[in-house]
């Protein structure tokens, strides 16, 4: 079984991050793109390492250094869990891969473990990036013994196991429930989105220290932090105790819970894995079609309808790309129902909501627009798109229009809630309406522009395109950058809020127009990637 797991895992790792393609492609342009992405990754890793190092340093200076492993461990676990919920089900129960692998003489458990490991390696990289600089800074300041590093090394390798198992349990339960329904995708989308909502609201209400206590004794603050971490994720405290105090019992407890939960999950899933896969792949075919009046539609409407059907046919696509809109609504409802100050405190960003609400609202959907992978999602159907007598402009705007249609209800709910609750004056209301709208339009068009540069059509798992695609990752960076500039301006240029909002809207619309202008000579021709 170990050999089977090794071979299957190797197979899935070949496709990860495009290493294999980078190694073997003779296309210089493609190699250059991978190199640029590599540079971007290194930059982001350095940024994250710097942030983590500073956090560790800050904790050590405040006399709470012993909590650094707990804070960092919880951070890694929470991010692993949140990022894996939506992809665990699709990766574990990937139909295409299942059909190929089930014909091989391998056990179901080997398939499960290999798929689990393919997710595990990505998450372990996150653990390394966060824990190593944190440990290095703590080590330099506190000078702990050898045990700290030894236990730390063990912890890094096992840190993603528990959150990944938990996310896989959720993914398996959602797959198991939705597999029983006729509209499997819709059920899966609703269940996953509901779960993401619960987690987001839950983590917001647990997060954030009571600022009134900041001035009080450090010990009290440390106690409060420790209690909160313990409440949210107890194994993080066990890690801290093991690494800092060298208590091996806590390390064993952490390892026992992590490995134990994984083995129980593996044993349970192994029993009904094939059944769930078969339920998910089962499709109802009636074979009793009777033709009714067929409606002739415009090319654009027909394209948008096709995009709509494609979008809602994939739960992993919907769940991942709707999270931004969902967060926008949660932020708006939070501000409308609980007030700006409460949301400020929950987010741990004093003054941010009051000063930058329209930008925050708009930037959230920009970070993960559905257009960022909509070209890649054409996958093996790409030949059709290329051979249809459809101009590039029509294809691009059909995808942009779908993004606008999908975002519209979330935008309307957010705006109505805020306008009713905050009762802004006319200028504020215009800013509140225009800034997020401009962001959504910009994000939709920029998503396509980025995906044109980093398309992936030869994929075997939707999760790979949606979660690990270079364009989805780049859009997150673009979203952050486009939000950071006006936010900094709003804080620096006090009293010029309306001007900053106006300039932001103008800049976003100009960028959107420029993206169309750049390829204007190709827009009337059919689609062909350069």
């Amino acid at each position: 079984m170990t050999r089977q797991i090794r071979l299957l895992t190797k197979l899935s790792l070949y496709g990860m991050f495009g290493f294999n393609e980078f190694r073997h492609t003779k296309d210089g342009k493609k190699k250059l793109r991978y190199c640029l992405m590599g540079v971007l990754w290194v930059f982001l890793i350095l940024m994250l390492a710097g942030y983590v190092g500073l956090t560790s340093y800050g904790l050590a200076v405040m006399g709470m250094g012993y909590l650094a492993p707990a804070v960092l461990g919880m951070l890694v676990s929470l991010v692993t869990f949140l990022f894996t919920i939506a992809k665990a089900g699709p990766v574990l129960f990937d139909q295409r891969a299942y059909e190929k692998q089930v014909a091989l003489p391998v056990e179901a458990k080997s398939i499960i473990v290999s798929r689990f490991l393919s997710m595990y390696f990505t998450d372990m990289l996150l653990g390394l990036v966060v824990m190593l600089p944190g440990m290095a800074v703590y080590g330099a300041v506190e000078r702990p013994g050898f045990g700290f590093y030894l236990y730390g090394a063990v912890v890094i390798f096992f840190l993603p196991l528990l959150p990944l198992t938990a996310a896989s349990v959720v993914g398996a339960v959602i797959a198991g429930i939705s597999g029983r329904w006729k509209r499997k995708n819709l059920v899966s989308i609703l269940l996953t989105m509901s779960f993401v909502c619960v987690i987001l609201v839950g983590s917001m209400s647990l997060g954030g220290l009571d600022e009134s206590q900041l001035g009080s004794m450090m010990e009290e603050l440390a106690g409060q932090l420790e209690r909160q971490i313990g409440r949210l994720y107890p194994p993080a405290i066990w890690i801290s105790r093991a690494m800092v105090s060298g208590q091996v019992a806590w390390l064993l407890a952490f390892l026992g819970v992590s490995l134990g939960s994984f083995l129980i999950f593996l044993e349970l899933l192994g029993h009904f894995y094939s059944k769930v896969c078969q339920m998910l792949s089962a499709r109802e075919a009636r074979g009793n079609y009777q033709m009714q009046q067929l409606q002739a539609k415009s090319v654009m409407r027909s394209l948008v309808e096709r995009e709509w059907r494609r979008y809602f046919a994939s739960s992993v696509y919907v769940v991942n790309t709707l999270t931004g809109e969902l967060m926008m609504v949660l932020l708006a409802l939070g501000v409308a129902l609980a007030g700006r100050d409460t949301v400020d405190r929950l987010l741990g960003l004093p003054g941010a909501v009051d000063r930058t609400l329209p930008v925050l609202l708009g930037a959230l959907p920009v970070m993960m627009p559905l257009t960022a992978c909509s070209l890649s999602m054409e996958g093996k159907n790409w030949w059709m798109t290329q051979t249809l007598p459809v101009a590039r402009r029509e294809l691009i705007w059909s995808k942009v229009n779908l993004q606008l249609i999908v975002a519209l209800p979330f935008y309307l709910v957010s705006e109505v809630a805020l306008i009713v609750a905050l009762r802004p004056d006319l200028t504020e209301a215009i800013c509140l309406l225009a800034v997020p709208a401009a962001y959504i339009l910009f994000g939709a068009r920029a998503g396509i522009a980025v995906n044109e540069k980093f398309p992936v059509f030869d994929w075997d798992s939707e999760a790979k395109v949606v979660k690990q695609g270079a364009s989805a990752f780049l859009m997150m960076v673009i979203g952050l950058a486009t939000a950071a500039v006006p936010i900094i301006a709003l804080f620096v240029l006090e009293g010029m809020t309306v001007f900053v909002y106006g300039a932001t809207v103008g800049a976003l619309l100009l960028l959107t127009w420029l993206m169309d202008l750049k390829g204007r000579n190709k827009l009337s021709a059919p689609y062909r990637l350069d």
Partner: protein, 240 residues
């Protein structure tokens, strides 16, 4: 109907897939394009339908340049690849209606054409089902139905008989004849030499990216079978 002049396609990495290829498909022709695996058939076909750009040469469909009047060219033809991966998330009828919208086929005509072609291919009753439930052969039949929906002037097919049952193969051959009798043309690749010999009025053989033989099927074969001709010319080409 289709004119290819001095087509050359070099892939990134330097491999010449098609080398100075020229051929002409006239209205009414069923034109067979034959060659070994990797000979350059699919690359030529993909250049014709606009998936690949070419490095040199010119391709004209119904007198229009594929590069400069690509939309008009695409409206005039239909293409089916060797493995038609079609939108699995649509039902058969949604797929056909989508194509009818894209090619702007009037509502009344599309209904009549869909009914006729789908009934002929035996997939009418499953048109309400998702394409993901279709077998390979049914997808092939649906793709063929979709290709005929706008009555193209040129039909470009890559290995059209792969995956079809004997009855559907026979039906497709009949349809191909009927299609060309109306003045349209078919340009298709195949490995099945017997089919090509019986079906095509013109044939071209490609080897190593170069066109080595082209002409009227009867003239090429005369007292030999197409299989003999193919082996003769391709081996002679390799020996050179």
């Amino acid at each position: 109907m289709l004119e290819i002049k001095n087509l050359t396609k070099i892939y990134k990495g330097g491999k010449t897939a098609v080398d100075n290829l020229s051929l002409t498909v006239r209205a009414g022709d069923i034109y067979g394009f034959i060659g070994h695996n990797g000979a350059g058939k699919t690359t030529t076909i993909k250049a014709v339908v606009g998936i690949h750009d070419c490095d040199k040469g010119e391709i004209r469909v119904d007198g229009k340049d594929v590069r400069t009047q690509s939309l008009a060219c695409k409206k005039a033809m239909a293409y089916i690849p060797d493995n038609p991966d079609i939108y699995e998330y649509l039902t058969g009828i949604q797929y056909l209606n989508f194509l009818a919208d894209i090619y702007q086929v009037p509502a009344g005509e599309r209904m009549e054409r869909i009914r006729r072609e789908a009934e002929d291919f035996g997939i009418y009753s499953v048109l309400g089902d998702l394409i993901s439930t279709y077998s390979h052969g049914m997808r092939q039949k649906l793709a063929l139905t979709g290709a005929l929906i706008h009555e193209p002037k040129l039909l470009v097919l890559d290995e059209p008989f792969v995956g079809l049952d004997p009855e559907a193969s026979l039906l497709l051959k009949r349809k191909m004849h009927a299609f060309c009798e109306k003045g349209s043309a078919i340009f298709f690749s195949t490995h099945v030499l017997e089919v090509a010999e019986k079906l095509c009025n013109r044939i071209a053989v490609i080897s190593g990216g170069k066109l080595i033989v082209e002409g009227d099927t009867k003239e090429l074969t005369r007292d030999k079978s197409l299989e003999d001709v193919f082996m003769e010319v391709t081996h002679h080409d390799k020996a050179d």
